[in-house]
């Protein structure tokens, strides 16, 4: 099989031939076209070691929901038993009011329009509104649920992936060395930042939104300078 690892692709490009046998699973941004895999977006093609998965990592501002992603959403409205949530995608997502930890019909979260939630995409299909949930399969919240206070930063899909990576992204590490803060990164490109003081919160938000194209060394300098300003 041709090694397509780290190949930059554009819409309409043929990435590789379909394998003669076996199963090849395609991720977002790719489709089959005759006997080939073709890209429909621009980005970098990645393949796992065994060659059974192929996906395209692009950079975009809009989010296309996918099952299992964690997202930061803004409550838009409440319809009966569900909240409608803006997750920066093509359609508003639905979040059942009972999909919170310990929620019952008597005791459910009272969220208003504009409130933030950290949720998991429970179901996503191109024809339906995405379904969200703030609990895992065992009914526990783990990290999900309503987000109180804090501010929201909008980043691109590729930066959101970088912020969620482990080991932690250089910017989060550099900030964590001298400040205490909380972040919730959604794969939809929204990052919620909170800390004890508004100054720190704004600093962290600024550092995150300025760091997309900086090298680890540049990030160190940037964070050092920002921290020196408030201390």
């Amino acid at each position: 099989m041709a090694n397509v690892e780290k190949k930059v692709c554009l819409p309409g490009d043929l990435v590789q031939k379909l394998p003669e046998e076996g199963v090849l699973r395609l991720g977002p941004g790719l489709e089959t076209r005759e006997q080939h895999v073709a890209a429909v977006k621009s980005g970098v093609a990645h393949q796992n070691k065994s060659g059974s998965l192929l996906w395209l990592e692009g950079r975009q501002k809009r989010y296309i929901p996918a099952e299992g992603d964690v997202v930061v959403g803004t409550i838009v409205d409440r319809y009966g038993e569900t909240f409608t949530v803006d997750i920066n995608g093509p359609l508003l997502a639905l979040l059942p009011q009972l999909a919170f930890e310990g929620a019952t019909r008597r005791n459910r979260p009272n969220l208003k329009s504009g409130d933030l939630v950290y949720a998991r995409v429970a179901a996503a299909s191109r024809d339906l509104e995405p379904q969200l949930s703030c609990v895992d399969n065992l009914g526990r919240a783990t990290v999900m649920g309503p987000l109180k206070d804090g501010i929201l930063v909008q980043v691109t899909s590729s930066q959101a992936r970088a912020l969620l990576a482990s080991p932690p992204a250089p910017v989060l590490q550099a900030l964590g060395a001298s400040l205490q803060y909380e972040v919730a990164v959604g794969q939809n490109g929204r990052v919620w930042v909170c800390s004890a003081s508004p100054r720190t919160t704004v600093l962290v938000a600024n550092a995150i939104s300025a760091s997309e194209f900086l090298s680890p060394l540049q990030i160190q300098t940037l964070v050092g300078r920002l921290v020196a300003q408030i201390q």
Binding site: K6, G12, Q159
Partner: protein, 244 residues
């Protein structure tokens, strides 16, 4: 007026089958999901893409595909004579529809049902060939927004004056009243997505002009491809996804 000198040079010094200088830049606007500026000689067009997002007018929603809204407008300062022309004059409305039709065949609308994609095209400098420059800019903006595309469509115009097929007419040549054939093409599949011509041409001459315009499209397409590739690689390199 002489449009092609006996030495075979056009008014602006080009050969009959020569394109104007091409230039483009991507992601020029902060607030748009995708944007691009495309320049062919003195024609300069800015395109901004917003979406896919929820359909604004409920009864326009399509259950099986995305709808594309396109707005073509000329800036008051875009032509030699300063004149206010908005998005609502007849010419702009027609061009909006033409661009929309070409984009509907390029964007994989069936992947984004019940959504809307807005494409705003603003002509900053007009010197002939604005409709094809608008398509090129819009396609680049869509690609930078990450909207799924079948192919990187490219547009180019060709005309016929004084017995010569001329590629990529400028405003002076365009206003000579001869035929002007604007086309857009999917370079990978060689599919035409737009073919328009005003005035008339004999069949065999038309064939020659069409072939010339197609060659022009392929040249424009390879330029756009190269620039988009550079842009994508630069972004990927900056975040460490690929090495230099």
């Amino acid at each position: 007026m002489e449009y092609v000198t006996p030495e075979g040079l056009r008014i602006d010094g080009r050969r009959p089958k020569e394109l104007r200088r091409l230039d483009c830049s991507l992601d020029v606007l902060q607030s748009a999901d995708g944007s691009a500026v495309f320049q062919m000689g003195n024609t300069k067009v800015l395109a901004a893409v917003f979406g896919p997002h929820e359909v604004e007018v409920r009864n326009q929603m399509k259950e099986d595909k995305a709808i594309i809204k396109c707005e073509y407008a000329m800036a008051a300062f875009s032509t030699g004579e300063r004149r206010k022309r908005g998005k609502s004059d007849r010419r702009s409305q027609e061009l909006s529809l033409v661009i929309k039709a070409a984009l509907e065949q390029t964007v994989m609308v069936e992947l984004l049902p019940r959504t809307q994609i807005d494409v705003y095209v603003q002509v900053l400098q007009a010197d002939g060939g604005t409709r094809v420059a608008a398509i090129n800019a819009a396609v680049l903006a869509l690609a930078s927004a990450g909207v799924p595309l079948r192919d990187l469509a490219a547009g180019c115009a060709a005309g016929y004056l004084e017995g010569h097929s001329l590629l990529d007419l400028n405003f002076q040549e365009d206003s000579a009243g001869g035929p002007d054939c604007s086309i857009a093409l999917h370079p990978n599949s060689d599919r035409l997505v737009l073919l328009q011509m005003d005035s008339r041409l004999p069949m065999d001459t038309f064939e020659a002009v069409l072939n010339l315009a197609q060659d022009g499209c392929r040249a424009v397409a390879s330029f756009m491809r190269q620039r988009l590739l550079e842009h994508t690689r630069k972004l990927a390199m900056a975040r460490g996804a690929v090495r230099a």
